[in-house]
């Protein structure tokens, strides 16, 4: 998926060393914690429960549509389960309608997710991995599945279809994640008119349909998670890497976090105090840099040294000793040091850092 870039070992080495500087020098002139500018809109498709479109400045574009269907909740225990529960209830003396108890039965499978990337098969391993990665991050806080619960017999099944419209220029994870976040914020489900465990009845009036995630200021609770792509090059930590930067990354990490809003005290005038960031999921991504061909030091280069017999010997030495030579590209080996992981997490969760900036930006999007 993150395809190979056509950079020579010398270019890779140059890029790697300029990104390792402090502060790093990125090819597009961004600072290490700067996102690419993006344009976003929501509610573009009236036929869906919620939709969003995001264009990144490099021209990549994604559209997400959310569709909800009512589904009967299959009882994992069958009829016996029902009887068992009745028994438990009567035994414990708890009356019916103990919603909190039931709500815990929300299941992650109620959210279905597909990713379509042009030019790739829909069962391509990379695509399936992306979809699963995003789904996992959304479900990790456990809130989303619970929102889909209607009553003990019915639930909403939410279909999230993610389309990448443009050719995959860079690893599309952050783009898809931000688009999904917006689409979920714009998602509305019809207002429930029925009560209790009867067959659900809904209000026809779309204007009255409540949002899946209540509007800002209204209520506390978590918001849909966002997944950021972070790479480490040398000692630098870079957010939202471009394709070239990903090609020289020592390690790449998909960090998912969600914002939890706390109940605001009455009369509290503070505007920004309610945000609390939580790290919900983290996955390492295999950076394409591991597949890049190694550079050949000029001492070992036939054309440069001009002598025929020495290079062979040196080449063997070169492969034998692991120490990288300054200015010669060598694909990164091994895993991510713990210190790097730690500093990535610190950078992500930093107050007023990138995550805050991104969330502020997304909040500015007009939800229609």
């Amino acid at each position: 998926m993150a395809q190979q870039t056509l950079l020579s070992p010398a270019e890779l080495a140059y890029l790697h060393s300029s990104l390792s500087l402090s502060p790093p020098i990125r090819p597009d002139g961004r600072t290490s914690k700067q996102f690419r500018p993006l344009t976003a809109e929501t509610g573009i498709l009236p036929g869906t429960n919620g939709s969003a479109r995001v264009c990144l400045a490099d021209g990549t574009e994604a559209i997400v549509g959310v569709k909800a269907e009512i589904e009967k909740t299959a009882d994992p225990l069958g009829d016996d389960g029902e009887r068992y529960r009745e028994y438990v209830k009567s035994a414990s003396g708890v009356g019916g309608g103990d919603a909190d108890e039931d709500r815990r039965e929300a299941r992650g499978e109620w959210l279905e997710m597909t990713v379509e990337i042009p030019g790739l098969r829909d069962d391509d391993a990379g695509t399936v991995f992306l979809a699963e990665l995003l789904r996992e991050a959304l479900l990790a806080d456990g809130e989303l599945a619970r929102k889909l619960w209607i009553n003990r017999r019915f639930h909403w099944r939410l279909y999230l279809d993610i389309l990448l419209i443009s050719p995959p220029l860079s690893y599309p994870l952050p783009l898809l994640s931000l688009t999904t976040h917006l689409a979920l914020l714009a998602t509305r489900l019809p207002r429930l008119k029925s009560e209790g465990d009867e067959d659900p009845m809904f209000d026809d009036d779309w204007e009255a349909a409540p949002f899946l995630y209540p509007r800002q200021g209204a209520a506390a609770g978590s918001r849909p998670s966002i997944t950021l792509l972070v790479v480490a090059v040398g000692d630098s930590i870079l957010f939202d890497p471009s394709k070239e930067e990903l090609a020289v990354a020592d390690s790449a990490l998909a960090v998912s976090l969600c914002e939890v809003r706390r109940e605001r005290g009455q009369g509290s005038m503070e505007v920004d105090s309610g945000r609390e960031l939580r790290l919900v999921a983290m996955r390492t991504i295999d950076p394409p840099s591991r597949l890049t061909p190694p550079g050949v030091p000029s001492t070992a280069n036939l054309a440069a040294s001009g002598t025929a017999d020495v290079p062979l010997q040196q080449k063997q030495q070169q492969t034998a000793d692991e120490a990288p030579q300054e200015g010669v590209w060598k694909a990164p080996l091994g895993g991510t040091p713990f210190a790097v992981l730690d500093s990535i997490i610190q950078a992500v969760l930093e107050k007023g850092g990138v995550a805050d900036e991104v969330l502020d930006g997304l909040e500015g999007v007009d939800l229609t």
Partner: protein, 279 residues
């Protein structure tokens, strides 16, 4: 799911209030995406499609394989790659595009047939011989469907190819035409209809026709419903006329975009251009 279109004979107005020869609102944009070589967005009523054209570019290893396997690929041009560009068409129908969510795999034959139709119609129209050893990839995304899907896809493709600057003989434009009589009724009072929506498509016989430029030449013709052979002529005439209307609309959009680009200084105005900026 039979619907009631019998009211048509009373007021001669269709379900959505159009007359028999009215097109739905056609809205289109070209150059919607910076990263692509050519792109377009097209709405015909509630049918919304997006098209992205990549190329002519060097064929990718994976692409060729898919091309022959997926059916939308090089096909007829497979052997002639040396002297002409091959065209690969991918249609992705989004799960959320119809009223009920339905997921269609890439191997759905109906979609494959549409891919082949578009690919073959383009192959005859584009000057592919100018780009030997290369591939033109057309990827189409269906965001919302409400009838005339194939027609919308063809129109969007034409716009995106113009945006990509790939030389072609003329516009290929398409629209649907139907007839108010069902196949069983042999009544002579049946009226032809232009540009059907999903409700009408489900109930009435219809065909999709694509023509080349302003001519009467039929580039593609697809009919999937039962209809008397005597109705064909009437439907085809209305369809061809509809294609001409669509062509005028698309041409207007291309010209408006072109003059805007000149005004903004994106492209240099040349003396050879016959575009008047006052349009």
């Amino acid at each position: 799911m039979p619907l009631d279109t019998s009211t048509y004979s009373l007021a001669l107005l269709r379900i959505d209030g159009r007359r028999w020869n009215d097109l739905r609102r056609l809205h289109a944009q070209i150059h919607t995406q910076e990263a692509a070589d050519g792109s377009s967005y097209l709405e015909m009523g509630h049918t919304k499609v997006m098209c992205v054209v990549t190329g002519p570019a060097e064929p990718q290893a994976g692409q060729q394989k898919r091309g022959t396997a997926g059916g939308g690929g090089a096909g007829a041009l497979g052997g002639g790659q040396k002297d002409a560009a091959s065209i690969v068409v991918n249609v992705v129908v989004a799960g959320f595009s119809s009223v009920d969510r339905k997921r269609r795999g890439r191997n759905d034959r109906r979609i494959q047939e549409m891919e082949i139709t578009i690919q073959k119609a383009l192959a005859a129209n584009l000057h592919t011989h100018l780009f030997p050893h290369s591939t033109i990839t057309v990827s189409l995304h269906v965001l919302s469907q409400d009838g005339s899907l194939l027609a919308a896809l063809i129109n969007a493709t034409t716009l995106a190819l113009i945006d990509a600057g790939i030389p072609m003989t003329d516009y290929i434009t398409a629209c649907t035409a139907g007839s108010t009589s069902s196949y069983a009724a042999g009544d002579d009072s049946a009226d032809p209809l232009l540009d059907l929506n999903t409700q009408e498509e489900q109930e009435l016989p219809f065909l999709t026709v694509a023509t080349l430029g302003d001519s009467d030449k039929v580039a593609a013709l697809v009919c999937e419903s039962r209809v008397q052979v005597s109705r064909l002529e009437g439907m085809l005439v209305v369809g061809v006329d509809g294609c001409r209307q669509v062509r005028r609309l698309l041409d207007g959009i291309v010209r408006a975009k072109g003059s805007k680009m000149i005004k903004e200084g994106v492209v240099q105005r040349s003396d050879l251009m016959a575009v008047s900026l006052e349009e």
